[in-house]
Amino acid sequence: MKRFLAILGREWRAYFLSPLAYVILAAFLVMNGLIFYAIVAFMSTPGAPKGQALPYLFTNTYFWIFNLFVVPIIAMRLFPEERKSGTIEVLLTSPVSEAMVVLGKFAGALGFFLTLWAPTLVFVFILRAQTPIDLGPVASSYLAVALLGAYFLSVGTFASTLTKNQIVAAILAFGMLIPIFSAGLLESLGSDPARRDLFGYLNLWDHMDEFSRGIVDTRHVVYYVSATALFLFLATVSLAAKKETP
């Protein structure tokens, strides 16, 4: 546990010691601020649909564009950087298992991802000052962000174990996330009910819709958690295999 925390802490801090973190953070906050402004402006026009403003923050197209592009960039440095500096040798020859290394690094990246989202809680307070807010959907939305972030980052972590090159790692992660994300969109194309059900189960957009309305469906939670576990397991296997052929 101490060792896990040591890896997590170093990883999380490493983000803030590189300019990349601030670029992502700034871009993310500017974009989300604009979207939030647009949502509130839209909701204030006469004839706008009644309801809460905040769910739109998690169901708009930019939300997905952001996650699909930025998560690979967050995860790309995890292992390639260690390989480049040779510190991977130090890490893997210290008395720490490969699974612990993968988990620690993944948790550090997830920590950074959640740090990106943390400032958006300000929006909740801004809205609360003006209008009554149902906090249930807010909580379930942020839970969904964490689950989705963990899922996508586990894919990114796996991709980063596959190569020494950060750019290649990011492209690989993006290449894996696109089918994961678009699988759900196939739901509307299938005519076979079983197939529709399968793709429906994978429809991330729909899941997010439900979470943002305060519905925490355990099937979705199970999907995210088990998929995250699967990709972290793959990352561990890949890391152990890479040891064989440095």
């Binding site: 802490g9 170093r10 500096s85 040798e89 130090v90 890490l91 893997l92 008395p95 064989e244 440095p246």
Partner: protein, 327 residues
């Protein structure tokens, strides 16, 4: 503390380390000497658990690196070839991270970090970013990282590579001090290093250990016949006179414009220097120089790893595949 038996590491296309056996005791510094690509790094990576061996066993402080990898790794401090550091971290942060990674916690971390900083003379730069340090300080920071948890076994892969002479002397002093209560295995392709630091030498070539012993021992055992160098003023014909001296095996003459140089190979444990002086006096030659040619470890090394000539001992099969070291 380090025991290696019949260790072999092969890749699909080549054998990097072939049937290597050796041991390093506590309080001993063993130099692992060989040309680039001889299998030094591969052997060390197997010892540190970074690479699994193909066959054979390696033990660190009694723990098999394959079956009890974690225990073995816990007894080990490893300095990889590339001085693996996180450039964005400060020295103190880096050492604290290494200590925590080794399972040290709480107040101990600070104490061990301070000790390592003291040991490696890093006080001046302890709060500076590693990125901004000179190569010598970086190497020392990496060394401090390898010993922050005070392991009984240290494995150092080319600890002085790329340093300037003053820094090399410093690092060597540190290693010598460390070796007093630890088992240290260090690799190098720099010969004076072995002479300066090591109690014992293993010469490895093409994945095999071709010689083993103290630096002194290797010199006397493997350097071949003693050689006396003599120089005479002017161009003179001394060859026959020198060859006639008892104990002299061969004489090689080299003529400079104003000097005649003789390289006199003689039987082991014979000393023809006085006889050469006498011969010079009798022949009326002016002797300018007369001394034993001290065989250097370099000679031994070249002899053992130079493949055009047959090696003196422990012949290397000529078909042994060349290792292209994995990076």
């Amino acid at each position: 503390m380090i025991e290696v038996q019949n260790l072999t590491k092969s890749y699909p296309t080549q054998t990097a380390v072939a049937d290597v056996s050796f041991s390093v005791k506590e309080g001993e510094i063993v130099g692992f000497l060989g040309p680039n690509g001889a299998g030094k790094t591969t052997t060390m990576r197997v010892l540190t658990g970074f690479l699994p061996p193909t066959s054979g066993t390696a033990r660190i402080a009694g723990h098999d690196v394959r079956t009890h990898s974690k225990e073995a790794r816990a007894c080990l401090g490893y300095l990889p070839e590339s001085a693996a550091l996180y450039p964005e971290m400060r020295v103190r942060e880096f050492l604290a991270y290494r200590a925590r990674l080794e399972g040290i916690s709480g107040a101990d971390v600070r104490r061990r970090v301070d000790e390592a900083i003291g040991h490696c003379l890093l006080e001046e730069v302890a709060d500076r970013k590693i990125d901004n340090l000179s190569k010598g300080y970086r190497q020392r920071a990496a060394l401090a990282g390898a010993l922050v948890h005070q392991p009984p076994v240290l494995i150092l892969d080319e600890p002085t590579v790329g340093l300037d002479p003053a820094q090399i002397v410093k690092i060597r002093e540190m290693i010598r001090a460390l070796g007093r209560e630890r088992a240290v295995l260090l690799s190098t392709h720099i010969l004076p290093e072995v002479d300066a630091v090591c109690d014992r030498v293993l010469i490895i070539d093409r994945g095999r250990i071709v010689a083993e012993g103290t630096p002194q021992d290797l010199r006397t055992r493997l350097a071949g016949k003693p050689v006396v160098r003599a120089a005479f003023k002017g161009i003179v014909s001394v060859a026959e006179r020198l060859a006639a001296i008892p104990g002299v095996l061969s004489v090689a003459i080299e003529e400079d414009p104003d000097e005649t140089r003789a390289r006199v190979e003689c039987e082991a444990s014979s000393d023809p220097r006085e006889a050469i002086f006498q011969a010079a006096v009798e022949g009326g030659f002016v002797l300018r120089e007369l001394a034993f040619d001290v065989a250097s470890l370099e000679d031994v090394f070249v002899r053992l790893t130079h493949h055009e000539e047959a090696p003196v001992e422990a012949a290397v099969p000529p078909a042994a595949p060349e290792e292209a070291r994995p990076s």
